[in-house]
Symmetry: C2
Subunit: 327 residues, 2 copies
């Protein structure tokens, strides 16, 4: 059996690199051995970031030249994780549409023209929902995004579903919960603080909480997000039916509950690093996202889920800090 | 008060011409006198088609050159009715996206760059719904289109809503019911037969019914559709809230009920003109459209609705046939 060719668009980002690491470590995808992993991004990752299983033969890292890559060889699996994040898409309206809509369309068109019907996993977002919503959002809920990022992700979902319906791709759009604890530096996403109020104190640094303590988010750890993306690449398309967009499984946690968990896991000194400084723009964007989902489809399809916010923090300390808390 | 400048994109189509006629006849839109009506289409209508109120001063008809028109002067009202219809969008995948998605985006971009915040009325479609649906589809229903046309209209709705949220346009997307009785010739829309099984027999011609008698549609007359589009241009944006896409009010009628009404209004001889000849493609497309809607928002905002299928047929005979049935 030929090894599967995997393309990760947005491969330089946190999820892209972790996804590549995991695929390389397990050496297979679906029922096939892994052939190669191609990572494409504006800023390409270093091969050293991809774990001990990465080799120059198995990994192809390309900065920028997506068209060339797609023309050269059609991937069997495409993970489309690239996006202009929510805060930036709100500030730079044309850029958000160029990358989040046109970029997605270009990838799907390349797959259509290659005519090999690849699996296409699109990372969507809970930001497709907004406005007045039920307390627990069902899978049947209408998408009424209240941010350009959300609108662009909702459009991406429709594109993936239509290309899948036409059998140009085997498409699955997965609305990932907000990733907590996201390693690395703060970014321009409105949700960035949800990680930094945990990550920064654990590294002995100060952090800012820009919303009220009772603001809640639907979150998943990086590990669960990666396992979910791979699961989306492996589920049976026949069982998926007509709805190609799935709300990913998460847990509902308030900012206050995060700080309580931080205190339990790392002590009161860590929590004291967090300063409250309200930011209306961030509060408006994050407040428009819903806090709980039914996720019937993702549960039925066996997607994984985190156990608790305490477990998420402990996993972050183990995996990213080698078990050492500076605070 | 300056006269309002109205642009009708897709002005050469049946709805575009009827909309222009009605606006010219009433001489105002909203609280403003009508300044000018611009009709743009691939194939422009004749000024003689626009009624006795049409004059060369008030009407500007342009075939094709949309960019030039938009650059020349920013309209106060944009009615975007242009589309590749469902059957053709299914056959010609790239063309459907080029016109129904990119065309809509171009219009919205022109409005954004003109920075005069026009009212933007987008004619959407019930084809945004599909797959497993409740018997009566609520306004909160998720859009899961099962045709490229439906996907493209759902994307258009998201674009209109996002441009409206950013205050680039005062945007309203109206999902028009299927128009029955549509005058003129059959077209490539999968729904074309819903009109032709009434229109052709009333003109003494044969027609084909390609679906089962119990296949139902959510329909509105051309007159109600035009009044609804104008209503969408006049409703208070503040009352609209975050959801800029409205399901238009219609009535649910089966193909069999249409033929019964045809019999009541025009006699059994007219009905005998209709031959049953199943077409799986049409049956699949039309069968994926839902047959009844709650329409709470459109009802609350005072949109008009037809009285009965009999009244729709009688209005068609009066308006389009000068009261004369050939059958």
């Amino acid at each position: 059996m030929n090894g599967a060719r995997v393309l990760i668009v947005g491969g330089g980002g946190m999820l892209g690199r972790k996804l590549a690491r995991r695929l390389l470590a397990q050496g297979r995808i679906g029922k096939r051995p892994l052939g190669s992993v191609h990572l494409v991004d504006l800023k390409a990752p270093e091969i050293a970031d991809l774990g001990t299983a990465a080799s120059a033969e198995a990994v192809d890292i390309v900065a920028g030249d997506l068209d060339g890559l797609l023309a050269r060889r059609a991937p069997d699996y495409i993970f489309h994780l690239a996006a202009i994040v929510s805060g930036e898409a709100e500030q730079n309206f044309p850029l958000g549409y160029a990358v989040n809509v046109e970029g997605t369309r270009r990838l799907l068109e390349a797959a259509r023209l290659a005519a090999n019907r690849p699996r296409f996993v699109f990372s969507s977002s809970l930001a497709v929902f907004g406005g007045r919503l039920p307390d627990i959002v069902p899978d049947s809920q209408r998408t009424t995004p209240q941010s350009s990022y959300g609108a662009q992700k909702a459009i991406g979902e429709l594109l993936v579903a239509d290309y899948a319906r036409k059998a140009y791709v085997d498409g699955v759009a997965l609305r990932l919960p907000t990733i907590v604890v996201r390693p690395g530096a703060p970014n321009k996403a409105a949700s960035s603080f949800l990680s930094s109020i945990l990550r920064e104190p654990l590294a002995g640094k100060d952090a800012v909480l820009p919303v009220a303590d009772d603001v809640a988010a639907w979150i998943a750890s990086p590990g669960i997000a990666i396992r979910s993306l791979i699961h989306a690449a492996e589920i049976d398309m026949a069982t998926l039916g007509a709805d190609h967009a799935l709300t990913g499984r998460g847990i509902t946690v308030t900012a206050g509950e995060m700080l309580d968990a931080l205190s339990r896991v790392a002590g009161a000194k860590a929590v004291a690093r967090v300063r409250r400084s309200p930011d209306d723009t961030i509060a408006r964007i994050v407040g428009s996202w819903p806090r709980a989902f039914a996720c019937d489809a993702a549960t039925r399809f066996g997607f994984p889920v985190d156990e608790s916010i305490d477990a998420i923090i402990r996993a972050y300390i183990d995996e990213e800090l080698s078990g050492i808390v500076v605070a």
